[in-house]
């Protein structure tokens, strides 16, 4: 049972001291954050740039560990701060209840005793003799209501009031004792392992700590995060918070703040670096395939975030990360809030949060950022894995690639994201580009048609390796057809997937029907209907087609190849296409090389 706490103790409790302690933990948290920053930004960079050899490598490893430790200190101190503030908040609520009860007692000239019982004076008149009724004592410790007043005896009018006051006094003291007990438990569990190592298992505990503090602090740090508001409203909400409130939200709700469109990029990045540690800690102990795959991807992202930034390299911003669905990761190369040009690359078929995404899709974004910066240094490029792309392991045509569902859902998320980009971008008129690759182009198409006026903030649309975008004309994408650009290699199997009708007619077995048809379709050019509508590279679609490499043929020089499908951004295989995408992203689309319509 909960330990006892007297009402006098509750009355005398100095909550300002609790808040003072909370401030102290807050300062420690901030200092740890600053220390980590200093280690990562200055010490590590300096060491890596100037020193070589085993000793230097060992020092770098130790410093990285130290940086991690500071990050852990930052996280836990932040949680302690919010826990103490929340404790103070709840105690103050009970103090207020107590104060009001005591004030009422004084006004009525009742006496409140140390045990919470309340004595009231004689009052009223007896039914028989008319004399004032005797005073008495009301207490909340017994079982109130078990002895109902006799109908023959009129009660002292004070009795009910005294009982009410006694109930309130005792109730407040009991509630305070329960709060005290609950928070003592939380604070006791907010402790670190002995020693200087902060292994992943400790980070896993940190995730649990955050969840516990979040539950406990619900009354204090109201979950006022405006999830249903527009990204612009969320930006204003965040701007209206005090520094302390922001720090507490970051400590208790890093996963929400980090993934919320409309929150500034620097804030999201800081929150998501914590989320990344917490997620790695959580997934570390699991042995299912999905967790292992995602963990490898997260570790690779973590490695890149921790690597020294070289001259000329756009810094990385982690704008989103979670293990939702097939996993989420949104990475920007260059600050998307300060860059005038921001491109968002939406990957497609078969993309999920794994090592492949973390290496190759991120390389594409980095290459786009670099290519754009050749032309305009104020450029950033985002790899946006903010939706569940279809996975080919399900089979090629049963293949949800043939369904709209993922694109419709992804389109909504994409619109939120780009609305967030334009809300937080500091330039007067930022230039935003959406790049859809493979099924990602269908997602871009969905985003463009879900609400009037196209994709929020988007000025240019690039479609590569597209199986169709869900509309028949470029002008239906909301940016004007002169701002829709299509790259397609002749040998790309996805861009020559036949339409559903053709597939139905030509299919032998539904699993490989469409591909079978491709075989037949090679000899039968000149049809411009694809799986999701008009071939965006066709003349009737009306987009500008830009030059891409044809890619390696499959059988000698004949036939389409899946290999050609993933080379659009990769300068290693197609620098021409990457160059054109970079020009468009940098706002210089008038300079691209065009290719014949097919």
């Amino acid at each position: 049972m909960t330990p006892t706490l007297t009402w006098a103790q509750l009355r005398d409790l100095n909550c300002a001291e609790l808040e003072g302690a909370a401030d102290g933990w807050g300062k420690s948290s901030n200092r740890a954050d600053a220390a980590r920053d200093r280690i990562e930004q200055q010490l590590l960079t300096g060491l890596r740039d100037t020193q070589e050899g085993e000793a230097a490598q060992a020092a770098v490893a130790r410093l990285r560990q130290l940086g991690r430790n500071f990050q852990y200190v930052y996280t836990e101190c932040g949680l302690l701060r919010t826990t103490l503030n929340s404790l103070s908040h709840e105690m103050k609520t009970q103090q207020r209840v107590l104060r009001e009860a005591l004030d009422d007692a004084v006004a009525l000239k009742f006496t409140v005793h140390a045990d919470g019982s309340v004595t009231y004076p004689a009052a009223g008149e007896g039914l028989i003799d008319g004399a004032p009724l005797r005073g008495g004592t009301a207490s909340s410790t017994g079982s109130p209501g078990l002895v109902p007043p006799s109908g023959l005896v009129a009660p002292n009018p004070h009795a009910a009031k005294a009982q009410d006051i006694a109930d309130r006094v005792t109730g407040a003291a009991r509630a305070a004792a329960e709060i005290d007990w609950r928070y003592a438990g939380i604070l006791r569990r907010l402790k670190a392992e002995e020693g200087l190592k902060v292994p992943d298992s400790t980070w896993k505990d940190a995730a649990g700590d955050a969840a516990e503090v979040r539950d406990a602090a619900g009354a204090y740090l109201k979950d006022a995060i405006p999830r249903d508001a527009s990204p612009a409203e969320r930006r204003d909400w965040w701007a209206g918070l005090t520094q302390e409130q922001r720090e507490e939200y970051l400590a208790v709700y890093p996963d929400q703040i980090g993934n919320l469109d409309g929150i500034p990029a620097l804030v999201r990045d800081a929150a998501n670096r914590d989320n990344l540690r917490l997620l790695i800690g959580e997934l570390e102990g699991r042995d299912d395939e999905k967790s292992i795959t995602q963990l490898a991807g997260l570790r690779e992202i973590d490695r890149q975030l921790g690597a020294a930034v070289k001259p000329g390299e756009p810094p990385m911003f982690l704008l989103g990360v979670s293990d939702e669905g097939n996993g989420r990761a949104i990475v920007s190369y260059g600050n998307p809030d300060t860059a005038k040009n921001v491109s968002t690359y939406v990957p497609g078929l078969n993309t999920s949060l794994d090592e492949d995404f973390a290496k190759n899709d991120l390389k594409r974004a980095l290459d786009t950022a670099k290519g754009s910066r050749y032309h305009d240094p104020s450029s950033a490029a985002v790899a946006w894995l903010g939706y569940d792309a279809p996975q080919a392991v399900d089979g090629f045509s049963s293949l949800s690639v043939a369904g709209d569902g993922r694109a419709v859902e992804g389109g909504k998320r994409l619109s939120e994201f780009t609305a967030g980009l334009s809300a937080t971008n500091e330039n007067e008129d930022p230039h935003l580009t959406a790049i859809g690759h493979s099924y990602g182009s269908r997602t871009v198409g969905a985003a463009a048609t879900q609400q009037g006026g196209g994709i929020p903030g988007i000025d240019d649309i690039v479609l590569v390796g597209s199986p169709g975008v869900g509309v028949d004309h470029a002008e239906d994408l909301g940016v004007g057809k002169e701002h829709v650009f299509v790259g397609a290699a002749e040998n790309d199997v996805v861009t020559v997937l036949p339409s559903k009708q053709q597939a139905a007619a030509g299919a032998v077995g539904s699993w490989f029907g469409p591909l079978l048809y491709v075989a037949g379709d090679v000899a039968d050019q000149g049809d411009d209907d694809l799986w999701f509508g008009k071939d965006p590279a066709s003349e009737s679609f009306g987009a500008k087609r830009f030059r891409v490499d044809d890619g390696p043929g499959l059988v000698g020089d004949f036939g389409p190849s899946i290999a050609a499908h993933s080379q659009y951004f990769d300068p290693k295989r197609d620098a021409v296409s990457a160059h054109n995408i970079s020009l468009i992203s940098a706002g210089r689309s008038e300079k691209i090389n065009t290719q014949e319509y097919r």
């Binding site: 078969n350 910066r373 080919a392 491709v518 499959l554 300068p571 290693k572 300079k591």
Partner: protein
Amino acid sequence: MRCRAVTLTFGLVAVLLLAGCTSGLGPLGGSERPNMNMQQAAQRADDILDDLLGKIHPEVKWTHDTTSVGSCDVTRRRAVMTIVSAERRGNFLGVVDRSWRSNGYRMKSINNDPDVPAIFAQTQDGFGVSLIVGGEGQVFFEVDTPCVEESEVAESTTRATAPTYEGMEHIPRPNIRSPFWSAGAP
């Protein structure tokens, strides 16, 4: 590499193979894959860049730019810090074009825009070589490796001939004058 090998064999039946591919194996099964790892490929890319810059006379000053690394390929970059004037731009492109052709590179594509021209070529061993003119006439060179065996990739060991701009997010626009290449530049 997100790669799947697809084989279509024509005959009585079309046979379709969709196979997940776990290593850095090229999509064509490795038959065209140079027998090297990413570090060796990056080294080869550095040699290509050394060669092409070495053949530009009078010399231009250059600095290292970002290396980007995938799971089986590497892109090396260098930025030219010598001012190449609009007047000399065609001259510069001509020097590069001739040197690449004489090396036996396959010329793949050009962008003949007067402000931001570009040349894309490929070496006989499958490395992409690009010249891109960017903002303020700055010239960039890129070399893309083929897909090779995964490995760590070290920094280039070639010493840059211009400052290396340590700690700077942006490499500046060209700021070194050459009596020949900068002729007519403001």
